[in-house]
């Protein structure tokens, strides 16, 4: 990563230029420390943890929330939030499945429809936030309800199954030993990184989160940028929908309840400021993996599920608390 690109790391790190130093002052320090500490704990606690198989397993499990968290990162960087991602994902998946199964349409159309639904609802959110000047949290909360309702109306409450076999490739397929969802996730992250760190659009995303008035007065098209970030969030929700549909081999209108909170947790664990303006997409990936490892590791250790909630909460607090020192 180029130094210039690294918005949010303090100046001093640049001056000294040592890699360790840079890392210690980078917003990635927290997520990395968390990741290392938690992985080490898990490795000690369970023999099954540090196997190639299990690591791929964790990454595959992470993929859906990980992809959702990409769009969430864009939105949060501008100072917004998107509570609708889980519901939009479910709706996109349900409609895609419905088109393939009930209407017997070609599968490609189903996938396109998923993307259309996701991007469409994302732009709807974005338009209301940018032109309607409405707070993102409430707009997306409303969209969440709307998307869930539409999904249930469309499916009548039944999951839609009987998808063509190739759909499962997106969820359970492998290229070499690497699961397809993991590859999709990595590609999404790479594209997001390029967009955020290598293009003017990315800078504008950070600028709006840093000081929206200043950005607007200096000629940044803040409304277009906000529209775009919500569109991107809808897009990643629809990509997540495709992966999830492949994993479940059915359209589930009630899938992904609470995933928006997991995605937000991944973004914030990844060191992105919830108020916007600062953060790195790589951090989000680390945050998502950290959450995945927690879920996986606690399961591997055979911990009582009720207890898992408590331990997960405490570890998240600990990770953020340690990380805070580096900010």
């Amino acid at each position: 990563m180029s130094h210039d690109a690294n918005i949010g790391a303090p100046a001093k790190a640049r001056a000294r230029q040592s890699a360790l130093d840079w890392l210690l002052h980078s917003p990635l320090a927290l997520p990395l420390v968390g990741l290392i500490v938690v992985s080490t704990l898990m490795a000690f606690a369970s023999d099954n943890f540090f196997t190639v198989n299990n690591i791929l397993n964790v990454l595959r499990q992470v993929s859906v929330v990980g992809i959702l968290a990409v769009g969430m990162t864009f939105v949060i960087l501008t100072g917004g939030i998107d509570l609708s991602v889980g519901a939009v994902m479910a709706l996109a998946g349900t409609i895609a499945a419905g088109l393939m199964v009930n209407m017997g349409l070609h599968g490609g159309i189903g996938l396109l429809a998923a993307v259309g639904v996701g991007v469409g609802l994302g732009l709807f959110n974005g338009a209301l936030v940018a032109w309607g000047k409405m707070p993102a949290i409430i707009v997306t909360l409303a969209t969440m309800g709307i998307a869930r309702g539409l999904g249930l109306i469309y499916s009548g409450g039944y999951p839609i199954s009987g998808l063509p076999g190739w759909v499962s490739w997106f969820g359970v397929g492998r290229i070499g030993i690497v699961p397809v969802p993991v590859i999709i996730m990595v590609v999404v992250y790479l594209l997001a990184w390029v967009l955020l760190q290598r293009t003017a659009f990315g800078r504008h995303v950070y600028a709006i989160g840093g000081n929206e008035t200043a950005a607007r007065l200096s000629g940044v098209r803040t409304r277009m940028v906000k529209l775009a970030v919500f569109g991107i969030s809808g897009l990643t929700a629809s990509i997540a929908a495709i992966v999830l549909t492949g994993r479940l081999m059915s359209g589930q209108p009630n899938a992904g309840v609470g995933f928006e909170l997991d995605a937000i947790a991944a973004v914030v664990l990844g060191g992105t400021a919830i108020a916007g303006g600062r953060g790195l997409i790589l951090g989000t990936l680390i945050g998502a993996v950290l959450l995945g490892i927690l879920n996986n590791g606690l399961n591997l250790m055979g911990i009582n599920p009720y207890m898992q909630d408590v331990i997960k909460g405490l570890i998240i607090l600990l990770a953020i608390y340690i990380g805070r020192e580096w900010r």
Binding site: N57, Q61, V64, V172, L244, R247, P253, A255, N299
Partner: protein, 280 residues
């Protein structure tokens, strides 16, 4: 007075089990010219009480109550009774002066599924339970399952995790279960929703793990008919539950004084042999 008004409150309605119940209710009501009001509590007891309050405002005569939680809805039952509404609990019982309760033998269901699983494994091997939302019917199924497993010396219960009866959650949970127990041979899921997630996880892992469940949902029945890891589900009869439940309520509406306080509905094993012929 105008036509008979029936209110039914469901604990959730994004589950084919309850959707088919609603369909049966609509058909039955149509045949006697009654009006139906339906609400969805979304697993939220407080909302369920509000829903009942709202239905009472609409002047229903019969309340079919599918409680999210037996204890929690007591206030709703009392309120309904105070207004002279006939209350029949369906699928799970409710505390308070319920006129009648119609529901599956959930303990039997758990027992049947786990006996089937243990026998299919030849009485040997590690099994796990995929638990669900802690409400009485689910807890009874787990209880029944454990009782069945205990009858087999060679079977060890190695893990219990919560899939929240949700396909996507169950998928991840079972993937982890499979990773952590290399010798896992069987899984019992408390319902078919979770079982479908478990099935995807088992198929994804390529391991030979047998799966049993409770419900008899169309998707599950189809998967069982196709053969594979999903070998059995203990079917309930949601349509019949609501038909019987409505019957109980109507009997009282017409003046019957001795209505059975509890009508247990049998459950039935569905496996590869009879799956093709089964449907709710």
């Amino acid at each position: 007075q105008d036509s008979l008004k029936i209110g039914m409150t469901f604990q959730e309605m994004n589950n084919p089990y309850f959707v088919s119940m609603q369909e049966a209710l609509n058909e039955a009501a149509a045949s006697i010219g009654a009006e139906v009001v339906v609400t969805d509590a979304g697993h939220n007891v407080a909302k369920q009480i509000s829903d009942v309050e709202d239905m009472l405002q609409q002047g229903i005569d019969i309340l079919l109550l599918n409680p999210t939680d037996s204890a929690g809805v007591e206030a709703a039952v009392r309120m309904a009774k105070d207004q002279g509404v006939i209350v029949v609990a369906v699928d799970a019982n409710a505390n308070g002066p319920v006129d009648s309760f119609v529901g599956s033998k959930n303990r039997d269901a758990g027992y049947q599924s786990c006996s089937y699983l243990a026998e299919a494994l030849g009485g040997q091997g590690e099994v796990a339970i995929l638990d669900g939302i802690p409400v009485v019917p689910i807890l009874e199924r787990v209880e029944g399952c454990k009782a069945a497993l205990e009858e087999h010396e060679g079977i060890t219960l190695v893990d219990t995790q919560n899939g929240r009866q949700d396909r996507s959650v169950a998928l991840g949970v079972v993937e982890n279960m499979i990773q952590s127990h290399p010798n896992l041979a069987g899984i019992f899921s408390v319902n078919d929703g979770g079982a479908m997630g478990a099935l995807a996880a088992i198929q994804g892992s390529g391991r030979d793990i047998k799966l049993t469940s409770v419900d008899g949902a169309p998707e599950a029945v189809q998967a069982i008919a196709e053969g594979g890891p999903f070998i059995q589900t203990t079917a309930q009869f949601p349509r019949d539950q609501v038909r019987v439940g409505l019957g109980m309520a109507l009997a009282q509406y017409w003046g019957a004084r001795v209505v059975p306080t509890e009508v247990p509905i049998d459950v039935r094993t569905v496996d590869a042999e009879n799956a093709a012929d089964f449907s709710w």
